[in-house]
Point group: C2
Chain length 256, copies 2
């Protein structure tokens, strides 16, 4: 039975997509079977794995109204063990359309319920907002990984995110937990990164992953080639840190 983990933070550009793609790839390298769900209208997980959003026949949006097509939607990627349900441009209007629909917060959950048996992990990449798409991601998940860029605004926004998690937990998904907080874009040359990391660790203690993702241009280059970091540059610090993170995620899950 898959562990469903949503990657969310309403602050933009903190490394949600980069973590979704590279953590899942490194879990596959450790023989896990992983499914990715892209519910961000930007479709960066989809394009970061080399797919053109304009050429997607069946996307997660189509499944909101017709689950029959689930098997057509699942794409195999160049990474053994990694599959994807992509996003495409039609997702842009989804938040407005979902507002007046029945079960509007449970659309993603009802799609994943029929898939859980086939994977070890299912990751959901969320858009930078606390709207209905992210709420769907939180409602469908067992737990959430929160990437936090080592900068002021990303730290400031955590309060609002934690409030939303609590609301979802109280009303829509009782079992939602925080899987972990991941510090990203850490720049060892700046005092700012040091201060933010220190404050997050003091506040969230053992919830913060020991693995910290440094700023590494290879991570920013990789999506331009439609590849995860391990295929773009396996010797880079970016690749090594996501490999370490994958091991830490497995270790934490074993210990329950």
């Amino acid at each position: 039975m898959a562990r469903i983990i949503t990657i969310a933070n309403q602050k933009g550009g903190v490394g949600k997509t980069t973590t979704t793609i590279n953590l899942s790839t490194c879990l596959c390298d450790l023989n896990k079977k992983v499914l990715l769900i892209d519910i961000d209208p930007q479709g960066n997980t989809t394009s970061g794995l080399g797919y053109s959003k304009n050429k997607i026949a069946v996307s997660i949006y189509d499944l909101f109204s017709d689950q029959e097509k689930i098997n057509q939607a699942i794409l195999n990627t160049s990474i053994p063990g990694l599959s994807l349900i992509p996003a495409n441009i039609s997702l842009t209007g989804a938040e407005i359309e979902l507002v007046n629909l029945e079960q509007r917060e449970f659309r993603v959950k009802s799609i994943l319920d029929s898939l859980k048996e086939n994977y070890d992990y299912i990751f959901i990449d969320c858009p930078p907002s606390l709207g209905l798409l992210t709420i769907n991601g939180l409602t469908a998940a067992n737990s959430i990984i929160i990437p936090v860029q080592c900068a002021y605004y990303a730290m400031e926004g955590l309060g609002q995110l934690l409030n939303t998690i609590k609301l979802v937990k109280d009303r829509l998904n009782r079992s939602l937990k925080i899987e972990g907080i991941l510090l990203t874009m850490y720049d060892a040359r700046t005092n700012l990164s040091y201060q933010v990391a220190k404050e997050i660790k003091t506040h969230f203690r053992e919830k913060v992953y020991e693995t910290i993702i440094p700023t590494n241009v290879k991570l920013a280059e990789a999506p331009g080639f439609g590849k995860p970091i391990t295929l773009h540059d396996n010797q880079s610090t970016g690749a090594k840190c996501y490999q370490k993170l994958a091991e830490e995620v497995i270790r934490r899950n074993k210990n329950g």
Copy 2:
């Protein structure tokens, strides 16, 4: 009569808020009178100027339903000539609430129509999405400044943004123009920044500002002190580049 400029890009973390705060401050240093409007539920423009979102009495959200309070909403900042209509946490639910309201795309425009006479520039800081709040920002504006981080995903998202601008121009705001495209977080040490900047300049030509904003940690530190860059570190490259940008924005406006 104010020129109303919206700062928008659905890609997260590209420098929308940083540009809103620092460009407007530098315009005030050049004796312009500027009003900022924060329509991002994150409220980063509001907190980046030193205001606590929890203590805001009247926000832009309150004005959607009651314009009588406009004068209570306008806050003076520590920068002479710079005023702010802040965001607060109640804006989070606004996108869902706006969906079923009359004139849902024109709420911000109708607020600004009564204020245009009092300022030289009005800037609107948008959330990282193409939802109803950003549509409100595009509908209220004369033109748009598009910050583009020098990285792959930010470049890839421009097509979707330009499509949305065209839709707004055709259906909601005929006079909407592109004020300019601003390259941000340029890191001269990386080939990626060089490649992205080259591609954007080739594609958008004279629409791209000559001024490029480099990666500069002082820009990321400043919001932690609730100050624009010119008050945090006036000698930094970040401050100098935004001062140059302010001069370029004025020059371009003079030439029409």
